[in-house]
Every structure is written in C-alpha cells, then in structure tokens.
Point group: C2
C-alpha cells in the first residue's frame, strides 16, 4: 500500500483544491495520506519562488483556472478578498492540532474558512470564531501556537520540505517521486496505484 | 466549429509538448488550430514573469514533470543542454515561414531540433543545417528574418498576446476563454467541443 505525503498551506488555493480530492484518491488507490502542514512563505523565501499572484497577468489567469478545477471537482471555491494572507499562526495551529490527533477536523475548518467562506483569517477574533464552530477551544489553541515545540516542529517540517525539493504547494511525495500542484493529482493517483 | 489559437515559442518545452498534441485534439474536437508564433522573452519582459528554470528547485522539478507528460503522450522528449536559448531568430523565421504558407513544416523542424534532437539552435550553422534538412533554403530564410515586415509582425503578435493576458507559453484561446499550459489541454479540448 502506497503512502502519499501531502505538503500544504491553508493560504494556498491549490492546496485547498487538492485537499478536497485526497479522500477519494486515497480510497481509489488504497493509499494512505500523510498530511504535512508546512509554511509556504518559508518555502518561497528559501527557494526564491513566489506566489503566482505577484505576476498580475498570472494572478488574473488563476482567477479563471482555479474555478475551472473547482467546477470539475464539484467543490465550493470562492476567491478570498483577503488573499494573500500570512498563515504563520494557522500553520502553527495545524502542528498543535496534529500533536493532539485532530489535524483533519482542524484542516477542514481552516480550508473551508479561507476558500469557501471568505473569512479574514489574519484576524484573531475571526480565527477564534472558526475554531469554536469546529469544536476547538480557541484559548487552548492560542496557547498551543505559542509553544516552542510547536514553533520548532513547523520550522522543521518546512525545512525538510525545502531539503527534499519543495518550492510550492501543494506538493506530494510517494517515496522519492515528487509531484507539484493540484493539477498533478492524476499522476499522483497513477503512481499510488503503481506503488501499491 | 471552434477555433483554437495556440501561442507558442520554440524555446518552451511545454509548447513543444502541446504542439505534438494539437493535431489529435483538433481531430477529436473538430476544431481548427491557428498557430501563433510569439516571442516568449518579450512576454516575460512585459509581464514580469520568468522561466521556471530560474528557480532552481522548480527547474529540477520540471526535469521530472516534462518527461512524465512526454511518456503519457508517447512522444520523444530530450532535455536540451543548450536550454534556455534566445529564440528571436527562430521566431522571426516562424513569421517568415507563416507568410510563405509553410509554418507547420517549419515548426515541425524547429520543435524537433530543440526538444528531440538536442540541437544548439543559437548557432547559425546548426540552424542552416536543420532548415536545409527540412526542405527550406537557409539563405532565403536568413534574408527573410531580417525583413522589417517580419520583425514588425513578430512584435505585433507578441504585443497582442500580452494585451490579451498571455504571460507564458503555451497559451490557448477559444474566443475569450484563455488556457495556460500544456497541462490544460484537457480543458482546451472540452471547451473546443463545447464551442463547436
């Protein structure tokens, strides 16, 4: 059975689209998905890569391309007017949730808040509301994201990703095979079946 | 019947991969393909975009991604050791060949020389050899690419592409719908069938 490592950041709309497809892909291929929250801003800084929206013509194109994939997948997708956002706190929260065995419900809540519900996820009050609605204790999460072990773990995963060749999100690994982009899910699925 | 405009540059490996797929796509969808040679370097300069190989980690990834698509398509693809190249003369030649009604045989020769045969296509002697082997008169082509109307036409097409939102290659238009990348051929084919 193949293991798919899925590196992502909640601020990446392509990560969101891929995230919605992972359960189906895992079921069809019999693969196990390992969710790896990383800090995309750290990846950009280290690799010299940047968000495509920094190139205005490319950003405009993305605003047609992402909805096309959302329609194909049959999932909600609404451009977030607060995009791009600094996701440091959200990603530290992912690490804290992961340590607590609750990464999936946390990720469901974060991705939906940013890419379906247009929430302003740099605002602590908005983050607290979203967390509470998803069954998390906002105060406990706020305390957790300040913990050194949480900060260090996010940094370590991000550095691991960079060392393995990651330059953007989402990025998938099956063994040493790397796939970049939610538009490579068909290749990921093929490889997962092959490696099974 | 839909018309697909296909903007490309011979120096772009993704343009080459797309080019190999256009006849089949046109046949399946009943669409007409209009081949639009442009200068990708001019597009990059105007839009602030750049070749993905300028980001080392992204360039390394492309060296696995492009062969994956070549295998899927069943077409030859060999990384060109002279890449990236300045394609100004090659693209002016495309305009001259187009004016002469010979854009397809010219493009077949150029794309194969760069992306299957690893030719050094900045070298005038190599270009002349490739042209002669494809049935072109190298001397006549050399004269043609110096003509003001040829230079102006390439510039005009490139400016038109930029004005319409192009930031890379290949880019496709079906009416006002724009698609970027050889990895969007499935969307292009869907739209061509829809618009038929």
């Amino acid at each position: 059975m193949a293991t798919i490592e899925f590196f992502f950041d909640y601020g990446s709309p392509a990560s969101y689209l891929a995230y919605t497809q992972m359960p189906g892909l895992a079921q069809r291929s019999g693969a196990t998905v390992v969710y790896r929250p990383m800090l995309l801003g750290g990846v950009f800084k280290a690799t010299g890569n940047q968000s495509p929206i920094n190139i205005p013509a490319k950003g405009a194109w993305m605003m047609t391309d992402l909805p096309r994939f959302a329609r194909r997948y049959g999932v909600p997708y609404v451009r977030n007017p607060h995009f791009p956002i600094n996701t440091l706190n959200l990603m530290r929260g992912a690490i804290a949730a992961e340590m607590d065995g609750r990464l999936i419900p946390y990720s469901d809540a974060m991705f939906s808040a940013v890419w379906a519900d247009q929430k302003r996820m740099e605002d602590p009050i908005v983050i607290a509301e979203v967390l509470r609605a998803a069954g998390f204790d906002p105060g406990a999460m706020l305390a957790a994201i300040g913990r050194p072990d949480v900060k260090d773990r996010l940094k370590a995963v991000t550095e691991e990703a960079i060392a393995r060749g990651v330059f953007g999100a989402p990025t998938f690994f099956i063994g040493k095979e790397m796939f970049f982009g939610q538009d490579r899910l068909d290749f990921v699925e093929e490889e997962a079946k092959r490696a099974a």
